[in-house]
């Protein structure tokens, strides 16, 4: 069975003004289906860039990324968009919800963009809203929710199209410890009960413990691709 995510000699360079900056240098990682992987590293190490490249939000300078047996660099804009709707779900540190849409609308966004009939997703929506425990908030807009509630909406949005992979960029970076615990438990439940592959970027060892493997990135290189550890 192919890996859920695989990178081959992945490089990413930026230009800061006229100065070239090597963010990622020949990264090779392999993430199996059903894994809960945490990418860790100091600020500026390139961990978020790696996550965005895996989700097709950014283009590599060199190297290849595979989601299952699909190689991303060969995809057109439309194919990449479809991939993001169906194959991956993103969760961001600052939730990134659309402010003028309700909880329900935010969750249904990938479905709407996929051209599917929203009425066909009524049951799925109900189930996800129950999972994220937001039944009484479905008609609210993001500014009427707490940080934890907003992040749960983001997680629900990431799940609505039943993607295989959840990519989370510091999902608890903006939350207090109690909410952090709630969100991490939710991600672990999704990983264990729904079998989704979860890749999160985090600074915190505490949140990394919810996963089963840690990839350490430092100065654009994988410094230590850890083994699976006991929960």
């Amino acid at each position: 069975m192919p890996a859920a995510i695989k990178t081959e000699d992945l490089c990413k360079n930026y230009h800061l003004g006229k100065v070239p900056v090597e963010v990622l240098k020949e990264i090779n990682v392999n993430i199996q289906q059903g894994e809960f992987v945490t990418i860790m590293g100091p600020s500026g190490s390139g961990k978020s860039t790696l996550l965005y490249l895996m989700g097709g939000l950014d283009q590599p300078t060199a190297g290849k990324i595979y989601l299952g047996d699909m190689e991303l660099s060969g995809l057109t804009d439309k194919e990449q968009s479809i991939m993001r709707r169906r194959k991956v779900g993103f969760v961001f540190q600052f939730y990134n919800l659309v402010p003028n849409l309700t909880v329900e609308d935010n969750i249904m966004l990938p479905v709407l963009l996929d051209g599917k009939k929203p009425r066909h997703y009524r049951e799925a929506l109900q189930e996800i809203i129950q999972i994220v425990e937001l039944e009484d908030r479905r008609k609210h807009t993001p500014r009427e929710l707490s940080g934890g509630q907003q992040q749960r909406v983001a997680i629900a949005r990431a799940l609505i199209n039943e993607p295989d992979i959840i990519l989370a960029d510091e999902p608890t970076g903006n939350l207090d410890s109690r909410t952090t615990k709630e969100v991490m438990q939710l991600l672990r439940r999704i990983n264990q009960e729904k079998g989704k592959t979860v890749v999160q970027v985090s600074h915190s060892l505490e949140t990394a413990e919810y996963g089963n493997r840690i990839i350490q990135v430092r100065d654009g290189k994988v410094w230590n691709e850890g083994d699976e550890h006991e929960q």
Binding site: L57, R84, R85, P99, L113, R143
Partner: protein, 841 residues
């Protein structure tokens, strides 16, 4: 302080388009205010100049009126204290037969001459003639004539040449005494066929058998003399003649009101757009400045200091707009004056623009004021925000729902609708204007509600048209401040354009209707037209029938109730309806028959409305025969002289107005006959008597031209308002894109393609444009329902006629502007870098 100024200037410089937008709004408002406040003075000077051309330095004119025993009088030889000069004039009509080659298409073979008789020394004191050629050493007496240079050059005359002129049917030979530049009495009027020539006063008098008499006298006062005293003294001498200034300020004001009031109205509309643009732009500016304001406050800046940073920016825009507004205002004023100087009735007028410190200071302070006041509310909001919220960037956008807007819209709208309808007559103009502004404000307040209702109703349709993207577009539009701002700007712009174009269209229709009421082809007036004139007219080939119209156009004072009647007709009940449409309340023929039975009067609807008249009421009119009481027997629909008109029977007209001759004739031509050819024959037949007139088609064309002049200016104002609005819309779309970058990136992160991004933005624009078009139409209709009250209060009763195609154009215009303005955001949105937009808060 230096740092603050540097910071303000840097901000202004960095946001060039925004600066341009605010400055152009302020500049336009100031320029239009400048022009509106300056036009009165400029036109007064222009008309005064025009009148001075005819009456020179005269401060008073003595002439015969309807109560005078004769149309001429002898000048009193005694001196009048305070009068430096009393210059008599007697004039007459004549004609100059053109050589055959100069005949105009065979229709006109002569040119009318207005021979004005003066003593040259008096004329030179009163209204100096500027000679380009003059014969020296000859006394200006006998058969000498002074020609205008234009005529002399056209016909090849030089000083000393002989010229044959037809006077009272006989050819008279004159010698050219001098050639005058076309100024003063000799001013050129391209539209007028009549030429002026000056001959010795006694020569004219002798041709008319009126030796020693004058038809009018021009009085120039001594520098220190009191006009009223001299007027009174002259009135004592010339008891049964009129002694009046050449024109009064009241006459001028009445004439200028028609032009100045609409200009101020349009300026107010432009001002409304400017205030809205500055207010909405400053809301964005203040949000952008929050972190810096927070930093300033955290390091010890007081609230007043940070207010100054923002107010300083606003002040800078106001100062710049004030200076540019003054400069642009001079240009606008010149443009308006040059358009109005082309008078289709009397030719091109000379003009120079007149303005002073009042206009300049007024426009300048308006610019500064509008900028400061419009930006004050957003600035005040920031000023009240606690430092902690500023530093931590916890200030929420202005997306709070404004629940007060809908009830406010209803309250203001209803009040605005009622006001013009219940306003007492004396207050009807200001209250009607206020009412129109209130209803427009109500529409603006109702825009969020209208938008939400529209989206609710059409969300399904958008879904059908654009699929899920249409549904998303509809959701994005809900409570989106920038889109609402766009809709508001377009609404004001479209409403104003719709209003001006509909009024212009309505005036066109009304004019057309008025001329359709005339069931004849030519209107002609012949000096002292007795029955033989009418018979001669009927004998002209092509003339099918004539109606002798008795019309009194000199203001008649109605004593009870108090009113000035502008137009009184003495009608012939037997044939009136053959020549004029007559739409009374009730049976027309019966009413006309009753009219002939006594001193009865039928009053136009507008006059009835103003005087609150009922059938059976009596009105007392001050007529040449004295005070006469007439009983009102009916009312009719007529906008002649703006509805200030009435009709009595011709028998009583002749008696009470002491007018033996008909004022003019309505002439109907045979089917297939060319009215222009018949008119040429009439001119030729009555050349010696003095004839005035034209075909109805030509009158209509001149009327149209005159109306078009005013509407050209008003349309230009409304287009300007629309252009500023469009700039605002473009700016708002860009602001909206910048503010929505993150949302768009989020959508891309969950699978929105470039095409979908562009399509969604365009769907939003299309929907927003449709809403703006509809609210613009609603605003336009709302204004237009109040406009008749304003016009009526201003003495111009016009029915509003809606042109349905304008509604279509308004809707399409809204959509096109919105789509065009969203092209750039759509393109930029599709190329958006997701990571950059999402990653940084």
């Amino acid at each position: 302080m230096g740092i603050i100024i540097k910071y303000i200037l840097k901000n202004i410089w960095e946001k060039k388009f925004r600066t341009f937008l605010i400055v152009i709004s302020v500049t336009c408002s100031a320029a239009l205010f400048f022009a509106s406040s300056g036009i009165s003075g400029t036109l007064t000077a222009m008309y005064e100049d025009q009148l001075r051309m005819a009456s020179g330095n005269a401060d008073l004119i003595i002439r015969a009126n309807e109560r005078s025993p004769s149309s001429t009088f002898r000048l009193d030889p005694g001196e009048v204290s305070g009068a430096a000069l009393v210059a008599g004039e007697i004039s007459m009509g004549a004609s100059y037969r053109l050589p055959d080659a100069n005949g105009r298409g065979g229709q006109t073979d002569s040119r009318r001459l207005h021979l004005r008789g003066f003593h040259l020394d008096e004329l030179q004191e009163l209204n100096p003639v500027m000679f380009s050629e003059v014969g020296t050493g000859r006394e200006f007496a006998g058969n000498w004539i002074i020609l205008s240079r234009i005529f002399a050059e056209e016909e090849g005359y030089k000083t000393g040449d002989s010229i044959d002129i037809e006077i009272n049917g006989a050819s008279r030979r004159f010698s050219v005494w001098g050639i005058a530049y076309p100024t003063g009495l000799f001013r050129d009027s391209p539209q007028s066929e009549q030429l002026t020539a000056v001959i010795p006063r006694e020569t004219v008098a002798s041709y008319q058998g009126l030796r020693g008499q004058v038809s009018r006298a021009y009085v120039v006062l001594e520098p220190e003399a009191e006009e009223a005293e001299v007027q009174q003294a002259l009135q004592q001498i010339y008891r049964r003649y009129e002694v009046e200034p050449p024109f009064t300020q009241a006459d001028l004001s009445a004439m200028l009101g028609v032009i100045v009031m609409p200009l101020y109205l349009m300026t107010s509309m432009v001002l409304m757009i400017s205030i809205f643009i500055i207010y909405s732009t400053f809301k964005v500016i203040t949000v952008e400045r929050l972190p810096v304001i927070g930093t300033f406050r955290s390091i010890g800046a007081t609230r007043r200091m940070t207010d100054w940073v923002l107010m300083g920016e606003s002040l800078a825009y106001g100062l710049l707009g004030g200076v540019l507004g003054n400069a642009a205002g001079i240009g606008v004023l010149y443009l308006i004056a040059s358009i109005l100087a082309t008078d289709p009735w009397s030719g091109q007028m000379d003009f120079s623009i007149e303005f002073g410190v009042f206009q300049m200071a007024g426009a300048f302070f308006l610019a500064v004021g509008v900028s400061l006041i419009s930006s004050w509310i957003p600035i005040r909001r920031v000023s009240k925000t606690p430092i902690k919220e500023l530093v931590l960037n916890l200030v929420e956008g202005s997306s709070r729902k404004k629940n007060w807007k809908t009830p406010a819209a209803i309250l203001i709208g209803v009040t605005g609708w009622i006001l013009p309808r219940v306003a007492p007559h004396d207050w009807s103009l200001p209250l009607s204007i206020l009412g129109v502004f209130m209803t427009m404000t109500a529409v603006i307040f109702a825009i969020p509600l209208i938008t939400n209702v529209f989206l609710k109703v059409f969300e399904g349709l958008l879904g059908v048209l654009f699929g899920n993207l249409g549904i998303l577009a509809a959701k994005n539009l809900k409570d989106n401040t920038n889109i609402l701002n766009n809709i508001t700007l377009l609404t004001i712009g479209i409403s104003v354009l719709l209003m001006i174009n509909t009024i212009s269209y309505s005036v066109g229709i009304e004019v057309l209707n008025a001329y359709r009421d005339w069931k004849f082809d030519i209107m002609v007036s012949v000096y002292q037209a007795d029955r033989s004139v009418e018979q001669s007219l009927r004998a002209i080939p092509g003339v099918n029938g004539t109606y002798a119209a008795r019309e009194y156009r000199t203001a008649i004072q109605v004593k009870d109730p108090d009113y000035t009647l502008r137009h009184l007709q003495g009608v012939n009940p037997a044939s009136y309806q053959e020549y004029m449409a007559f739409r009374p309340d009730g049976d027309p023929q019966k009413l006309l028959e009753k009219l002939s039975r006594g001193r009865y009067i039928i009053v136009a609807d507008m006059m009835r409305h103003i005087l609150q008249l009922e059938v059976g009421d009596r009105i007392i009119m001050d007529l040449p025969s004295g005070l006469q009481t007439y009983e009102v027997i009916g009312f009719y629909d007529s906008l002649m002289m703006n509805g200030s008109n009435a009709m009595i029977d011709e028998r009583y007209y002749r008696l009470d107005l002491q007018e033996p001759y008909p004022e003019r004739f309505y002439v109907r031509v045979d089917e297939g006959a060319d009215p222009n050819a018949v008119m040429a024959d009439i001119r030729s037949r009555f050349r010696q008597r003095g004839v005035w007139g034209d075909t109805i088609k030509n009158f209509e064309a001149m009327n149209d031209e005159y109306n078009n002049q005013i509407f050209t200016i008003l349309k230009a104002f409304s287009v300007l308002a629309m252009i500023i609005g469009i700039f605002g819309v473009f700016n708002n779309y860009i602001i909206s894109f910048i503010q929505r970058k993150r949302s768009l990136a989020v959508m891309k992160s969950v699978g929105m393609s470039k095409f979908q991004s562009a399509a969604m933005i365009m769907a939003e624009a299309l929907t927003g444009g449709c809403i703006a078009g509809l609210t613009g139409i609603l605003g336009g209709i709302t204004i237009l329902t109040g406009i008749p009250y304003i016009l009526e209060a201003g003495g111009i009763p016009i029915n509003i006629h809606f042109a349905t195609n304008y509604f279509g154009i308004a809707l399409a215009g809204g959509v096109i502007i919105a789509l065009t303005a969203s092209l750039s955001p759509a393109l930029r949105g599709s190329k958006l870098n997701v990571v950059d937009a999402i990653k940084y808060e």
